[in-house]
């Protein structure tokens, strides 16, 4: 386990920024404790300082997963975000939607086709009455 280098941190933040925008600093700088990112076997984990101190005393071979896995670095050093990060990203997400077409279809389809469904809950129309057309 080791901290991320500057290049790795940049890659991770860029990816996170696509989903939660400017709110990454809310992940980095939390009022309820010091949380940090650590790298273990090419996977990026998000864990609190208390957990970090405990995990530091586990042998490397026996350590499976310290904290929550946000994603991993591939062989060519690209960062792939994982679904296990959803719990942390959901509160700050820029929006949610359901894919209407599969990835391959999305590429072939014409510009005006629908690709994402935004599934609203019951009260959304009432909540966003003013902004919705």
């Amino acid at each position: 386990m080791r901290p991320l280098t500057e290049a790795e941190t940049r890659a991770v933040f860029e990816k996170l920024g696509r989903y939660i925008g400017e709110n990454i600093q809310l992940l980095v700088d939390r009022p309820d404790g010091t949380y940090c990112f650590r790298l273990h076997c090419d996977r990026v984990y998000y864990l609190s300082e208390k957990l970090l101190k405990v995990a530091a005393s586990v042998p490397r071979d026996n350590l499976v997963s310290p904290g929550t896995c946000f994603g991993k670095f591939t062989k060519t050093q690209k960062f792939r975000l994982s679904v296990t990060a959803l719990d942390f990203l959901a509160p700050y997400a820029k929006g949610f939607g359901v894919a209407a077409k599969s990835t391959q279809e999305c590429r072939k389809v014409d510009p005006m086709a629908i690709v994402v469904f935004h599934q609203a809950d019951v009260g959304e129309y009432v909540r966003n009455e003013d902004t919705l057309t």
């Binding site: 080791r2 901290p3 933040f13 980095v28 010091t34």
Partner: protein, 350 residues
């Protein structure tokens, strides 16, 4: 019928004999030179040059015949050597070869002359020359010539010396025999130490890498300058430990693995500092403004200026050359390009 037959048979036998003799005798214009000690035969007869030209079966056949003939002559000479039976009566016949006359060249390079030892340097400085000592010394007690050292030496057998006087000013309780033995041991040890030191010095002198010095003209590559700076830094009495750093020199000491191992921040390092660093990184990323790196901008500007200056100089030289050529006309010798034209410009000139 029978008579003809007999004649035929005799003729055939005669031919066979001639054939055998032909295979053993070889005719040569010039005699070969032999060095039987090296099993060497030198043939100075000029070969048929026409036949040897161009690869082909004719050439191969000629070469093979040549080799066969020369080998035949060599073997014939070998058989003329005095021979004897090795290993008793039933053993093989062995020829006694003479001393080799032909000197073969060295296989390995000759040994380098070793550097002079400390004593040799001192002796050369003082002009001390080596005096040859006689190997035999006159022993007064035994009244005969004895060796200088070794078996039955001149000064009597040191193992049987029964008296060791206490010298003036020495401790009377001290064991003189022990002292003599100890001093001899120390002398031997010191001698051995000096011998090994001389050996080490000679070995080091042989494998020393000449340090690339600073060029007086100033045309030096960046790597060379960096290397020389690093060497100069460590060339102090305390090996550079208390040397103040130059303004732009990196802080970390040169790693022993030579840059092969990566170094990371400690796992439980200063978390507050890590947080602040990450926040700053986020701020830079979100600022949407290209960060100005002063050093890179300045270097880029300098390089651009240098390129322009070089281009202008090249243009001037080529113009001067062209004018010179035109003035001299068909004389032949032209001014040409006055100096080296930078490659970047040569293409654009045409």
């Amino acid at each position: 019928m029978a008579a003809v037959r007999v004649e035929e048979v005799l003729a055939a036998a005669e031919e066979q004999e001639a054939e055998k003799r032909r295979s053993v005798t070889v005719e040569k214009e010039l005699e070969l030179e032999f060095d039987l000690g090296n099993l060497l035969a030198l043939d100075r007869n000029p070969p048929a040059a026409v036949e040897l030209r161009g690869a082909g079966p004719r050439r191969e056949a000629l070469l093979r015949a040549l080799a066969r003939d020369n080998t035949q002559l060599l073997v014939a000479r070998l058989w003329e050597l005095p021979a004897e039976r090795a290993g008793g009566a039933g053993g093989p016949l062995v020829a006694r070869l003479p001393e080799p006359a032909f000197r073969l060249p060295r296989e390995k390079p000759p040994p380098r002359p070793r550097p002079p030892t400390r004593w040799e340097q001192f002796a050369r400085l003082k002009g001390i020359r080596r005096r040859k000592r006689t190997s035999l010394v006159w022993d007064e007690q035994a009244k005969e010539w004895r060796r200088r050292w070794g078996y039955r030496r001149a000064g009597g057998d040191p193992a049987r010396a029964w008296l060791a006087e206490v010298p003036e000013g020495a401790d009377p309780e001290e064991d003189q025999f022990a002292r003599l033995r100890r001093e001899k041991r120390e002398r031997v040890a010191r001698n051995e130490l000096n011998r090994l030191r001389n050996l080490a010095r000679a070995h080091r002198a042989g494998t020393a890498v000449p340090a690339a010095p600073l060029h007086p003209t100033g045309h030096q590559s960046r790597e060379e300058l960096g290397h020389v700076a690093r060497v100069a830094r460590v060339s102090t009495a305390s090996l550079g430990r208390f040397q103040p750093r130059l303004p732009k020199e990196p802080v970390e000491p040169p790693s022993r693995s030579g840059g092969r191992k990566r170094r990371f921040e400690p796992l439980l390092g200063n978390l507050a500092a890590e947080r602040s660093r990450q926040l700053e990184l986020l701020r830079d990323m979100s600022s949407k403004k290209p960060v100005l790196d002063i050093t890179r901008a300045v270097n880029k500007q300098l390089r651009q200026e240098e390129a322009e200056a070089a281009a202008a100089k090249g243009k001037k030289q080529s113009q001067r050359g062209k004018r010179g050529r035109r003035q001299q006309g068909a004389g032949g010798v032209s001014g040409g390009l006055g100096g080296p034209v930078p490659p970047s410009f040569a293409g654009t000139d045409r």
